[in-house]
Amino acid sequence: MTGEVLVTVDGVSKKFCRSLKKSLWYGARDVLSELNPFARAKGGKPPGNGAADTELRPDEFWAVRDVSFELRRGECLGLIGRNGAGKTTLLKMLNGLVKPDRGSIEMRGRVGALIALGAGFNPVLTGRENIYVNGSILGLSKREIDEKIDAIIDFADIPQFIDSPVQNYSSGMQVRLGFAVASSLAPDILLLDEVLAVGDMGFQSKCYNRLGQLRKAGTAFILVSHNMPQITKFCGKILYLKGGRVASFGPADQSAALLLKDMNACSTDDCSSLDTGPQEAGTLSCVVTKAYFSNTNGDPVAEISTGEPVTLVLCYRCHAEHIMNPVLELVLRDQTGDALFHGSSRMAGIELGKFRGNGMLTIAFPHMPANNMKLTAAIALWDSAMHELIYWWRGVTLRVNGDPNSKGRVSIHCSWKHQPQKATLTGA
């Protein structure tokens, strides 16, 4: 590790207030105390959980608490955590928008932020005029923008609209333009907040390539995202914030795994705010009374190894007199909510026949390919025309274990070979 340290965050904490009235009042008082240069200097760390927090005023809490890390040139740090864990507040402090209440932040070099794309756009002005405004806000001089404007327009890829007012742009086009301007800077440190999820596929890949170029040029990244596959792919290190504190800081996989563990723990325990608990919906003229994964012996299982056969068993009770040929739809999701599989009896070309009274549906997987993940099954039962959602439910889970060294989402059977004579791959 020889890269120079660009970001040093040392014991940073920030208070927030739950009540708006009090928050504004505290804000006014903070401004006044700031005017007194002889105010008592605050130091040290906020007291631990057990100790009484004398520094907190009524209704206040630590939004960010004693966070420390270092970031070197070319590194990428991912900030993860649930909503309200303090990620954006930390980013705002790094950007100098908000002062820390404790600790210190040292930023070396030019700081860029892809946080509010297109901030400062005026809807009445044309795209071209807005490039100049936006560029100036981000710290570019007119000459720099003159030099870059063709590249910016080219990157945004909206040449036919560049001289129309921005209010006629679609939201995607505004974001494209915003990203094009913001990413034309070559900062030493770049802060990103959930901006990689914008635009269509083509544009997203352009964004990635652009960020990749910056990274090669030595830019250090700090990235906030809820997209776990993306963040683990992009970031070498991850800082996992939990209630404002650092729950884990280290190699990407380690922190990400911890977050996923916490998320899973939540789905079975108390965290009703997380949208992963069992849920039922629909007209309920037919309901699933029991659902489980079973092994080949028909015994319920909670855990299997990848590649093993498994069957999803659904016992139903039909309240309607009868239902002809309903359609059963199934989605298997991983912990992050990404769909691993989606299929339905209609897609499979199966007619389910007449539903009446009680019955059982089974969906058999001869080789479950999921790798190292916890699957959650969501099922939907539709009438034959798929106009009526009879029953929608999710919640049954299955842990699929695999090779711990393998990071892929599925394990695919393959054979490896080496042919020594002539390269079969085209020369790269």
Binding site: M1, T2, A28, L35, R73, N95, E129, G212, G218
Partner: protein
Amino acid sequence: MQPTVRDPIESIQPPSEFAPPDMVRPRADLASQTEPRDLKSAATGDASKSPRVIVKAGADLPVTVYTPESPLRHPARMVREMFRDLLASRELAWRLFVRDTSAQYRQSILGLLWAFIPPLVAALPFVFLNSQGIIAIQGTAIPYAAFAMIGAIIWQVFVDALNSPLTSVMAAKSMLTRINFPREAILLSGLLQVLFRLAIRMILLVAVCTWFQIAPPWTVLLFPIGVFALVVVGFVVGLALTPLGLLYSDVQQALPIGTTFLMFLTPVLYPPPRAGLAGALASWNPLTPLMTVTRDWLTTGNVNPLASFAAVTGVALIMLFGGWILYRLSMPHIVARIGN
């Protein structure tokens, strides 16, 4: 294709790792990561290999430190930063001014004429009431209609400057909470707008003087100083109210009412009364000398309260610096409180 961004040094990866085809470039990536570092260290005297403290002293990159400490503890550094930011914000201020002005007039039919309307609306009812004998304002050296209109135009300069800081900062709120840029740019662009409208109103002023055949005395050369003083005093008051006004909407509600009230208490549409409560009020009102002196420079040339004019302007200039400091210090706290 997604860039290979895993830091090869940071995460020691097991040899059996699966990697998608586009990730099988770790060597290329490693090379390109070390390359700029080498270039950098060559350019900066191998800064990367020096101990951290020395790198810091080398100051090859600008270093920004954020701490809870009040910047007032290091006044010299603070003043240096203030002027650095002021310089850095010139271009942005101009750009924002051009943006706001062109957008404003592009979406308007009357356009520039709007600059004329507030002083006319303030003065014409008084001119009418006075001409009908409903009110009787006497003792003006020039025709009352001219006196009232010139007064209203000058007063509008003050009101405009007073409203400017809060209005422009409020309009830039979403930018302020998301982007770090020299905050002075917002104030400067507001000031430019004030000056722009002022320039347009000067046309109205010339028209009034021509219509009433007021031949300006030589002191008209000093008139810009009077206008400057009004802008400074108005701006200082507005700047002082800005931090509070950003937190509480009460300030914005009160401003138009307050300025109208203040106009009637200040000799804008009437000459300064000599006696009674009104006289006492006028003599203690710091705006009286500004209004009187500025108007007299343009019209009669007999300037009376010049000393108090100079005093008020001097105090305002000092307070301008204080208001600037207050604005800078309060911004991070306000951004933290008003959220997005």
